[in-house]
């Protein structure tokens, strides 16, 4: 009788151990399945976000390309009729210099990282960034200070200003490149 009881107890202990083992197996299996799904999810998200970055960069590029062709006609840059008749793709250098001094108000206004006007003809030997002291004996009007980063797209424009000589005023126009930069995402 006692022997039978001991045997039954042993069987019960064995069964308990088996059940515990099965629960452990199941728990490990479940963790593996969850980790698998998390990894798959992360993979899908990575692919999606890389596509998102690509399309964001493409849109930035498109914006810069379309903007550069029309920016010279926007009121902050355009010559209007101050140099005779109304001209297309003509930048008023005097106005651009004043804009440079209040550019912090225009932060994010055109949705590009920088705008630069580079005089290309007549050609000069060195690159001189314009400020109030050296203007007009300079060849780059950089609208934001510091180094330009990102990718630049450009368009040819005329860069006009008021000049005076021996008490007479005259208009002086030179050939320049309008460069619009955008950041790659």
């Amino acid at each position: 009788m006692v022997k039978k009881k001991i045997k039954a107890k042993k069987v019960k202990v064995n069964l308990n151990k088996k059940a515990q083992l099965k629960i452990q197996q199941m728990a490990f299996m479940l963790m593996a399945v969850i980790i698998f799904f998390v990894l798959v999810g992360m993979f899908v998200l990575t692919i999606r976000f890389s596509g998102l970055k690509k399309s964001a960069t493409l849109l930035e590029e498109e914006n810069a390309m379309l903007l550069v062709s029309k920016l010279a006609d926007s009121p902050e840059f355009s010559c209007g009729e101050s140099f005779g008749t109304r001209k297309a793709n003509c930048i008023d250098a005097d106005k651009a210099m004043m804009l440079k001094e209040s550019i912090e108000k225009y932060s994010g206004f055109w949705g590009v990282s920088n705008i630069e006007i580079r005089k290309i003809y007549p050609k000069s030997q060195s690159e001189i960034i314009c400020d109030r002291l050296n203007y007009p004996n300079c060849n780059i009007i950089r609208l934001i200070s510091g180094e330009v980063s990102g990718v630049g797209v450009s368009n040819f424009v005329s860069l006009c200003r008021k000049e005076s000589s021996e008490g007479y005023n005259y208009d002086k126009c030179e050939l320049a490149k309008l460069v619009v930069s955008y950041e790659e995402k």
Binding site: A19, F37, L66, E76
Partner: protein, 306 residues
Amino acid sequence: MKRGDLQISFSWIFAIIAGIFILFLAIYGVGKLMGMQKTQTGLETGKEIGILLNPLETGFETGRTTSLTIPAETRIYNNCFDNEGVFGVQKITISQKSFGEWAIPESGVNFRNKYIFSEEITEGKKFHIFSKPFEFPFKVSDLIYLTTAEKIYCFSGDIPDDIIEELSGLQQENLKTENCPENSINVCFSSEQECDIMVNYNAGIVEKGDEEIYFSGDTLMYAAIFSDTGIYNCQLNRLMQRVKQLSLLYKNKADFISQRGCYSNLNSDLAVLENSAGTFSGNLGSISALAEEIKDKNDMANCKLW
């Protein structure tokens, strides 16, 4: 255990519960991803529309027109905020119809240099966009008028000749001066007609139902016709914020070029305009007269500022 009882082991129950949980997570994840996809498409379309408006910047033209066709039925939400930053914000939010239901518009795209005049929600597949420079007295910006191809505007009555010429020159399908179809929106220039929109051209008032919108010049007249009152007032406030900054820019330019002996004598007038634009409260009458006066002075100046 009795015979006939359902024998389900613990591991089966556990597997079923875990399976349901995992399936629920997967369905939830897919739902979220689809929502994200809709938001992304909306944002991309909004940005794309904003970018496509760049070529509408006018040089010496008096107006430009283009049309935009989107493959799916689309709603363009026009939101204007005149108290954000120096120039206010133009927000475009897109919602597209999928499986017969409109997606909830979540986030939009902001532009600071655009002024879109339209109804708060413009719906359709094809949209007409027409732009016109706003000069006050210098060029301030190009105003963009957005309309759906589904709404036809019929201009009638004593329309000034230059408006008829401009409208026919634009060749925009939904702006008509003759052969108007039924159900078109009647824009009348004479009070004796039955109108949806009444334009009192000489007084500078556009009447829409019980509302009166004041305008000055053709550019703002079109803005008043095509947009909701709220949008019009907000965009007008934003335009005045730009007038203020441009007045300051021209004032600084006048000082700058005077060092080279080029005088325009407009500094004090520009200071008044800057102040009036800064404190603008909807009264166009006095500020328009001031702008007109400054325009005449600039035209006569030795050194023109614009």
